[in-house]
């Protein structure tokens, strides 16, 4: 293949990979049953796999596919970043018109390694907080909690506005609402507490492109750091196959500033090279080639300055020890936080997750939140402490755990949410509802309301109604039906809280479960 064909091939693969990633993401709205694992990109993510396995102290079968990614890294170096990574693709596409090839700062390249080491040491200590920096989890969270809810608002707003005035568009709207809703789009509009924050963070990652191209990949991405470490000894490497005129054309097009051309020669840092192959067609003399194996240029008698090794980013023992100490310090701090002493009142975890060593298994990938049909599962703020930032909890005022659904446990790639059968899930206690009698309409306002009892999905009803004769403020005797929770039957699904017609906080709220031993 000619140099420009290689570049074209990379661009096509990159487009296909991004389309594939987003296709899988949209298809998640169909449900967890799929011939291709919907979490495929997470399964081939070595950072996720080894982080989760180290922290959970277990071999997670679904993640063993990452071994293939490791082999890939040892063969192709950082080709993942240039060819396959969907975030890398977005960063290539959403970029300033004229890329400045400037280096933000040489030593910043170390940041990604430091982050990786911190993640590694923290995982050894059973902590996965920084998994929020994995590019796939970052994209997934932004997709499910910010992008899709906003997209759905746009779609429904346009439909609502045009439905009465544009009958010719009705077949299109029917296609969207009948065929796409619940297959490519969420079944209902969902509302995410932290959507704005996730969008801001994602916007920030993109905006860094204006400081330097692929800023995220070059300086911050811990997954990029995994591949960069492998690239240092990878089989495929960019090389100069003959002497060059030092025109530096390659250096100007390189998006990651991996190439250095000086008067003395030309060198490529394989840890920075994402194998994008933009340099191949840029070189007027066809000097550069990607070759497997070998030590040196195939052309003999060339100046020794032609090399593929560059070592201006040396990681020292200092970095390793510093990272280890930082991890120990942070994890110790987390474990001395109030959230470690006592669960937050609103820490309602997905079914089966509460007693499942959850924070040591959850990679914050938001697959559960994406597949949850009611949108109740959301990245948390500080309900689980800083340690559990962006781990999923149920915001039972924004959705409920549907009695007919067990999807989150089926899709969770690490088993942090166990794959319960529907029957097991229906028995799994995720929280307990309590009524605020000071605000509940029949209790406080002497008027009928039975919504919580009506909605309670437990076959024998965990909410019951007591018919009570009371004297209303106007002196008249009225009968009201007061709801009462039977805590022993309540599983904390939260549909009562979600459907409570009060404005603001519901008069019935789901708290962190407190299972009691059987009576008597």
């Amino acid at each position: 293949m000619t140099p420009s064909r290689w570049r074209r091939a990379r661009q096509i693969v990159q487009i296909l990979s991004a389309i594939f990633f987003f296709a899988l993401a949209f298809l998640t709205y169909r449900g967890f049953e799929s011939p291709i694992p919907l979490d495929l990109y997470l399964r081939v993510d070595p950072l996720v796999a080894f982080g989760a396995m180290l922290a959970a102290r277990a071999v997670i079968a679904a993640l063993l596919l990452a071994l293939a990614a490791v082999a890939f890294g040892f063969i192709f170096g950082r080709a993942w970043c240039g060819w396959l990574c969907p975030l890398g693709a977005l960063l290539d596409w959403i970029s300033p018109r004229a890329w400045r090839t400037a280096e933000a700062h040489k030593t910043w390249k170390r940041v990604k390694y430091v982050l990786l080491f911190v993640i590694f040491f923290a995982a050894l200590l059973g902590n996965l907080s920084l998994m929020i920096l994995d590019p796939i989890t970052l994209l997934n969270r932004t997709f499910s909690s910010a992008f899709v809810p906003a997209l759905n608002i746009v779609i429904v707003s346009v439909e609502t506005a045009l439905y009465p005035v544009a009958p010719p568009l009705h077949p299109l709207f029917d296609l969207i609402e009948q065929n796409w809703r619940g297959t490519l789009l969420p079944a209902h509009q969902t509302f995410y507490q932290l959507g704005w924050m996730l969008a801001l963070v994602f916007g920030g990652v993109i905006a860094l492109n204006w400081i330097a191209p692929r800023f995220w990949c070059r300086y911050l991405c811990p997954l990029g750091a995994v591949y960069a470490l492998q690239a240092k000894i990878s089989w495929l490497k960019p090389r100069a196959v003959k002497d060059c005129s030092h025109c530096a054309a390659c250096m100007r097009v390189c998006p990651t500033n991996a190439i250095t051309v000086t008067q003395d020669g030309f060198s490529v840092d394989p840890a920075e090279c994402v194998v994008c192959m933009d340099c191949l067609p840029a070189c007027p003399e066809s000097v550069i080639a990607f070759q497997f194996g070998g030590q040196r240029s195939a052309v003999s008698g060339q100046p020794s300055a032609i090399s593929s090794q560059r070592s201006d980013v040396d990681l020292t023992r200092r970095h390793l020890i510093g990272s280890a100490l930082a991890s120990v310090g942070a994890v110790a701090l987390f474990r001395s936080a109030p959230s470690a002493a006592r669960d937050d009142a609103w820490l309602v975890r997905p079914p089966g997750a509460q007693d499942n060593n959850f924070l040591a298994k959850c990679i914050r990938c938001a697959e559960c939140s994406k597949i949850c049909p009611t949108g109740v599962l959301q990245p948390s703020l500080f309900e689980a402490g800083v340690e559990g930032f962006w781990s999923p909890i149920l915001y039972t005022r924004l959705g409920y755990c549907d009695y007919s659904c067990n999807a989150c446990g089926q899709i969770c790639p690490t088993g942090a949410i166990p794959p319960l059968t529907l029957e097991q899930k229906r028995q799994s206690i995720i929280g307990t509802a309590y009524i605020d009698e000071n605000r509940c309409i029949p209790w406080a306002s002497y008027r009928p309301c039975v919504v919580c009892e009506e909605m309670c999905p437990i076959p024998d009803k965990a909410i019951r109604l007591d018919a009570v004769d009371v004297i209303a403020p106007d002196g008249k005797k009225v009968q009201v039906q007061r709801p009462r929770v039977i805590p022993d039957l309540c599983i904390g699904c939260g549909i009562c809280e979600y459907k409570c017609p009060l404005t603001g906080p519901a008069a019935i709220r789901v708290y962190t479960p407190m299972p009691l031993p059987p009576l008597g």
């Binding site: 429904v156 707003s157 009948q178 809703r181 509009q189 549907d402 039975v450 009225v478």
Partner: protein
């Protein structure tokens, strides 16, 4: 010439502006959210007519004519029955499909209701995605499918079946209830109710509490709407039957619960199905409307049909649940408001057994 980049930039900007305009427009204050709570003392009207059609043991086809004093509280003429046909029909039998056909035939046949080329909507109760139809929380799929067949036989252009479940997704609920398979097999369409299709409707003066609410526009526009609820216990309204089933075609049904009985009756001032058929092949006798216990399910093998939802509900309350219709507040309100009758003086009731 615009550069490609400039073109993309401008189109994104314009569409964002458009979208945000629409989003803002749809954020306009929804009409009736600030409805004050109704007075605690509901208007009291002395129940008068207690003599109701006695129900005989199922026999072969027979026509019952009962004479009783009509309720003085009825302020308007009830919707008229099909001329010369019974006001209400009851069919009993072991085959849900056969009694569906029989109950419609008893009212004069499907052709009295569905004309060739009609756009028909059948509205069963598919309230959640958690139970199969054996648990009697959703309408019997055979009944719904037979209705689809009847409408198609009568020449309907299109027969759609829809309901908005209050929990779970419509897609999951349609599948779990067995209704999707049954309906699609006989040529009907399942429609997932789209949030873009609800329109604000102002209620007539007969509605005592609701001033306006959002209702699914296709229900208002269709040529024929057949309401096929399943008979169930309900903690607040006591029973959920035909009148209450219409809560499945409005937005925010939870929002009407602070005056549930009155507002159910009010809904019936706007939504007037062509035909109401109460499915009590199985009835849910307790822990409704969600269900989940087979011991709460009672086999009744009965369908009750009329153009008058107050009448179907009154009759069902009495013969299925042994309750006086005037004790079910929304039935009483419906009769007071002239939406139908809950007494059966001078009406023809046809009972068939197949």
């Amino acid at each position: 010439m615009l550069s490609r980049r400039e073109f993309i930039r401008r189109s994104i900007l314009y569409s964002l502006a458009l979208a945000s305009g629409n989003a803002l427009a749809s954020c306009a204050p929804p009409a009736p959210t600030a409805t004050p709570l109704p007075p605690t003392s509901a208007p009291t009207i002395a129940p008068t007519a207690t003599a109701l059609a006695p129900t005989a043991a199922p026999t072969a086809t027979r026509v019952v004519n009962v004479t009783a004093v009509p309720l003085p509280t009825m302020t308007a003429t009830p919707a008229a029955p099909i001329a010369g046909e019974p006001y209400l029909a009851v069919a009993r039998g072991a085959s849900p499909a056969a009694i569906t056909r029989a109950v419609v035939d008893a009212l004069g046949g499907i052709k009295k209701f569905v004309k060739p080329g009609n756009d028909v909507i059948i509205k069963p109760n598919i309230c959640n995605a958690q139970n199969t139809f054996e648990y009697a929380s959703t309408t019997n799929p055979e009944v719904v499918a037979e209705l689809v067949k009847l409408c198609l036989e009568a020449g309907a252009k299109r027969v759609r079946v829809m309901d908005q479940p209050f929990s779970g997704t419509a897609t999951a609920a349609y599948a779990k209830s067995g209704i999707r398979d049954a309906v699609e097999k006989v040529g009907g369409e399942m429609e997932v109710m789209s949030s873009a299709k609800y329109v604000t409707v102002n209620f007539p003066a007969t509605a005592r509490d609701l001033k306006s609410w959002k209702i699914y526009q296709d229900i208002l526009k269709a040529d024929v709407v057949i309401n096929v609820p399943i008979a169930k216990h309900h903690g607040g309204a006591k029973l959920t039957l035909a009148m209450k089933g219409l809560m499945g075609v409005i937005t925010n049904p939870g929002g009407i619960h602070t005056a549930l009985d009155q507002r159910i009756a009010d809904l019936n001032t706007v939504i007037k199905p062509t035909l109401n058929i109460i499915d009590s092949v199985r009835a849910l006798m307790n822990h409704g409307p969600t269900g989940g216990n087979l011991r709460d399910v009672k086999m009744m093998n009965t369908l009750i049909a009329s153009h008058d939802p107050v009448a179907t509900d009154a009759y069902a309350a009495q013969i299925l649940f042994d309750k006086k219709p005037q004790d079910i507040a929304y039935i009483k309100f419906g009769a007071e408001m002239g939406l139908g009758r809950h007494d059966f003086g001078n009406v023809r009731i046809k009972e068939v057994t197949v």
